[in-house]
Each structure stands twice: as C-alpha cells, then as structure tokens.
Amino acid sequence: MTIRVQREDFDTAAELERLSAGNPRIGAVVTFTGLVRDFTSEQSASSQQSMVLEHYPGMTERQLAAILAEAESRWPLESALIIHRYGELAPGDRIVLVVTASAHRQAAFEANAFLIDWLKTKAPFWKLEQAGGGRRWVEAKTSDDDAAARWQG
C-alpha cells in the first residue's frame, strides 16, 4: 500500500505496472484519475487559468493512511495506491490517482469508489482557482459529503 503527496506529475501506466508486478493473485485493477476541470464558463481561455492546491503536510499523509487502512479492513485488497498532487496546476492536469487491486473486480471497484469519496471529505487539501485576475477558494460540496456518507453503517 502506497501513499504519495507530491508536486510533480505522475505516470499512470508506470504506476499500474509497478503495482501489479510480481503478484499473480491480482486479477483486477481499478484506476481512478482526477483532472483539473476548466473552471470558468466565460471568456478567459484555459491558458489563463490556474489552480493552486494547498495542503497540510503531515496530516495529509496521516489521513490518507487512515483511509487506506479502512479500505483494507473492508475489502480483500492485494495492493492499493494513492497519489495526490499539490501546488500550481492547469486545466487538464492530473490531480489525483487512486488504484486498487484485488483478486476480483467487485472489491477493486468498491474500494476505489470508497477511497475517492472519503478522500474528498477527509484529506486536508484546498483548491484556489485563479482566472482573469480573479481568485476564489473552492467551496466544499454537500454532494461530496453525501457520497462519503453512503459508505457508513
């Protein structure tokens, strides 16, 4: 199980290769990649937009490890990986990678959805959007809380 919080981009194919290499028990690998959306509907071109992701070093890793441990306790995972970037990003850039590997697909699919739902409500990251001279902190969505809540109980 691997957690990385980094400024640099990641290579999804290389990560998948590394994660499943040498483990013939893995029969299913599910990958979720989160990208920066174009966040203005107006004039400013994508090239003028940027997003800055701030996080709480130390707590971020601690919370991601706790989320991963919870997933491992619920599903029979052979391997799992979370990479989350921080710093300045542009529309189209990769933000987050969640990979889950198991003998069968159901555990891999469910654990992956669980991890990204919980990550969105627990991992201490904050998005600041900047476009055309303006800036705004992205507000948390109640739909994300609802998505995480369906895994309770």
Binding site: Y56, K120, P124, W137
Partner: protein, 83 residues
C-alpha cells in the same frame, strides 16, 4: 502550543502559524477558539463561523470539546476540497 491556519482561514487571520501560551483555564479547543477570537479582529473574523471551521489536534480531526495542552499542534481550516 502551536496553532496553524490553512487556506481561507490563513488569509483571514493573516498568519500561517503562531505559537500561543493561553492561560491555564483554556482547556479545550472551544476555549481556545474563544480566546483566539479576542486576539485581533482578523482572528475574530476567521473563526467566527463554526460551519466554516474544521479543527485538527495533532493532525487528527477533533471537536470543540477536545482537551488541549501546551505541547499540542492545533490546526484550523475550512472544509476540505481535494480530490
């Protein structure tokens, strides 16, 4: 104790971090919030709305009734928006 602020709260307080020595009767996070809000109008503004403030003590989520001591790291930040 160390107090950290992140994102919008950091901008509102005007500080990323400060070391504070509250009096002995400040025993919980809720006490600390009350005490910090009297430090400056910026602190008061940043911490005024409980719906906008999440709390961590030593890097774990905590509620306002959580006990605190001089060696603790206490962080205040808005609801998270990662992923």
């Amino acid at each position: 104790m160390r107090v950290l602020y992140f994102a919008l709260l950091r901008e509102r307080v005007g500080l990323a971090e400060e070391t504070v020595s509250p009096p002995a009767e400040i025993r919980t996070v809720g006490d600390l919030v009350h005490w910090l809000r009297q430090k400056s109008p910026q602190h008061d503004y940043a911490l005024a709305d409980p719906a906008m403030v999440r709390i961590a003590v030593n890097q774990d989520y905590a509620r306002t009734d959580h006990a605190i001591g001089p060696d603790d790291e206490i962080a205040f930040f808005p609801p998270v928006t990662g992923g």
